[in-house]
Assembly symmetry: C2
Homo-oligomer: 382 residues x 2
């Protein structure tokens, strides 16, 4: 069964187009595409030079193949290495990358290439957005999360000591190359965390895709089902982005599970030993479903089905599964109130009426959320 | 005689609209407008809070009146002070301002207010473009240069150690308030330097305006002619910006005098004791005219007329007028080649066929420029 509107071309390669007028671009998906990245760039961009950005984990694994591919295509390329981890999304690393880009004499037609997970993608995208007020950006996502989420849509940025992703620009890539084979070197935990975002697209508005995932998730984890899952996810994100490039409306649905999830990540001080982003999103989606059921919006059977699938792939679905000290409902409520999506005090949540039926709920009662969280923490599933 | 398409309203106030679809905005021009800034913001923006940014020179002079005006309009406001001078356009000041903006809990609907010259405007605009991926920006320009040029058009940014204005974003203001009375506290040298940009609009494509300036420049310097000169200049810039928001084409004409001017500024190490930007532009415009005449493009009488007016207001028009060590033609040529407007080795210049007849010339012979500069340095007017 093929769910993506763009079935595989010869060689199993797929392509999804993000329609944004003159800022439209292609997402290429398939195993082994890394080696062809230079040629794909040369076909599309004036690009004579490129600066490849990768973290210290990904650089030794995949940068040599990418650099060789660029050289073969006649693009002179250098490598800029950054530390691994979320703290790389900071001003000092932005400045270092911007300086390097200018020092390499990249002109406006040249490209910054983000080879890595969402951290490298967000940092590199921001730099590409501000050097000479906008240079070409090519995303070569290497984590599942980056392939299905962060590399598509043009949101870029760094963190402030006062909150995540508070500083950045919208800057669309010129091309995204998602090589599903590079995921082989990703840890199982990171792969699984990225899968939470894949499942999210099914839960938002693609019930057929969710059913396909229930039947085929083992093939997604093992390899053969990967390109299909990535392609459908990219198509889902591309559809939302095309309708709402700058997140003023429909794009909010992509935050299913994220209001709760961000509060948990923040309360856990972004300590990856306790929780990584996809795990927080998995718990957040389970909470959004249970909260919707509690409000009488979503049948209990639908919530059970959503939670059962997340558990089947090994993702956490309850606050009490997070290792370490217990959370406080008050603390989580404070985090939720600080969330940047909060407008003038009223709470906006993504709730659901069932699998594939998420919606934006405004004016959710803070007291109802607080009561629900207190119960989850003390008596919820563990 | 009134040249601006928007003659004064009651109270002598004028307004120019920058047409950019949903990013359109108003430039209000007149004496005493500072006191009404809060009310004008309250009429247009959701704005509950504002952060006013000013340098240490302008803050004591004009921030109290602006802060009072915001408070009267029910906008709670704080002041962020930065050092005066070009070096404030740097990463560390950007980070400090971004942090302050987030610390003040400004939400997306709130505004950053740039009270100052082009330095404060460029830095504040950049910060407004990146906090939460875009906040409201209100420009309250206090130098003549900022009123007629930098506050309009959405170019924002900071400098790299490797070149000026290389880092930034396009971020249009929501409102520009140009109070011509605040120019009273500006030094005569800075006022005169800003006047070079006013004359530039006449020289580019407004010969009538140039004629008006020849007749009325004393009134512009003294006060009564100021609002008219600022309004026509803003209209000229607004027209160009509306046709080419992101500087891919026609906007290049605004660089009349700037290729030579930037090279001189850079060779003088941006030392304001030797040269400030408007003075460099004045010399650059004189050079562009003389070079055009030498190439047989512009009648000598037109060049003489342009130069005569710049000299009449006290602006420099020759390289040899710059105090300090002599310049080298080779050094200037290197600076010109490094200029960010250079595309793949070919030189693009703004040349002219006469007063108000500037045009973009591509593929200018580098050897012709070098020969011309060598002559200007050794034998040109002094
Ligand atoms: N811009 C957006 O729209 C958007 C959307 C979602 C998330 N994000 C951001 O993305 C970031 C999270 O992304 P992430 O989960 O990819 O984090 P990440 O970039 O830190 O990658 C996770 C870890 O996996 C390693 N890694 C990546 N690819 C690998 C590979 N092929 N082999 C071996 N190791 C590999 C990395 O070195 C890192 O240690 C967060 O900062 C989040 O805010 C952005
Ligand atoms: N964004 C654009 O489109 C654009 C266009 C042109 C220039 N610029 C930038 O603008 C900057 C130059 O602007 P500028 O000439 O206004 O420089 P500036 O901001 O440094 O101001 C010049 C000096 O005048 C002082 N000053 C300003 N207003 C005053 C007042 N009312 N009373 C007393 N003192 C006052 C300032 O403190 C400063 O010392 C440069 O950085 C240039 O790159 C930007
Ligand atoms: Zn996410
Ligand atoms: Zn200028």
């Amino acid at each position: 069964m093929s769910l993506s509107s763009h079935p595989p071309e010869a060689g199993g390669r797929r392509s999804v187009r993000v329609e944004l007028g003159e800022r439209s671009y292609e997402i290429l998906i398939g195993a082994g595409l890394l080696q062809g990245t230079g040629a794909e760039m040369a076909r599309r961009l004036p690009c004579a030079r490129a600066l490849v950005v990768a973290d210290e984990t990904v650089a030794p694994l995949h940068a040599p193949a990418l650099l060789a591919s660029l050289e073969r295509a006649g693009i002179s390329a250098a490598l800029h290495q950054v530390p691994a981890g979320e703290t790389t999304k900071r001003f000092s690393e932005l400045e270092r990358l911007v300086d390097r880009t200018i020092a390499e004499r990249l002109e406006r037609g040249d490209a910054l290439v983000a080879l890595g997970g969402g951290v490298v993608g967000d940092l590199t995208g921001f730099a590409a957005g501000v050097v000479r007020r906008g240079m070409h950006l090519v995303q070569v996502p290497t984590s599942l999360l980056a392939q299905v989420d962060s590399s598509v849509g043009g949101k870029t940025g760094i963190n402030s000591p006062r909150g995540k992703n508070l500083i950045g620009v919208f800057h669309q890539p010129s091309l995204v190359v998602a090589d599903t084979a590079v995921l082989e070197t990703l840890s199982e935990r990171e792969f699984r965390a990225g899968y939470a975002e894949v499942a999210k697209y099914g839960l938002i508005d693609r019930p057929d895709f969710f059913g396909w995932l229930e039947a085929n998730w083992r093939a997604v984890f093992a390899g053969p089902g990967r390109a299909e899952a990535v392609a459908v996810s990219c198509q889902a994100k591309a559809d939302v982005v095309a309708g709402d490039e700058r997140e003023t409306g429909a794009r909010a649905l992509l935050n299913l599970g994220h209001t709760f999830g961000h509060a948990l990540e923040s309360a856990a001080a972004y300590d990856p030993a306790r929780l990584v982003h996809g795990e927080a999103v998995s718990i957040g989606m389970a909470l959004a479903h249970r909260f919707s059921t509690r409000l009488g919006l979503c049948p209990a059977s639908e919530t059970e089905r959503a939670v059962r699938h997340l558990q089947a792939v090994g993702l956490p679905t309850a606050i009490r599964e997070i290792p370490g000290p217990a959370f406080l409902a008050d603390e989580l409520m404070n985090k939720i109130a600080q969330d940047k999506k909060v407008q003038r005090g009223s709470l906006t949540f993504i709730l659901t009426r069932g699998i594939g039926q998420a919606f934006v709920a405004r004016d959710v009662e803070p007291a109802a959320v607080a009561g629900f969280l207190a119960e989850e923490i003390t008596a919820g599933p563990a």
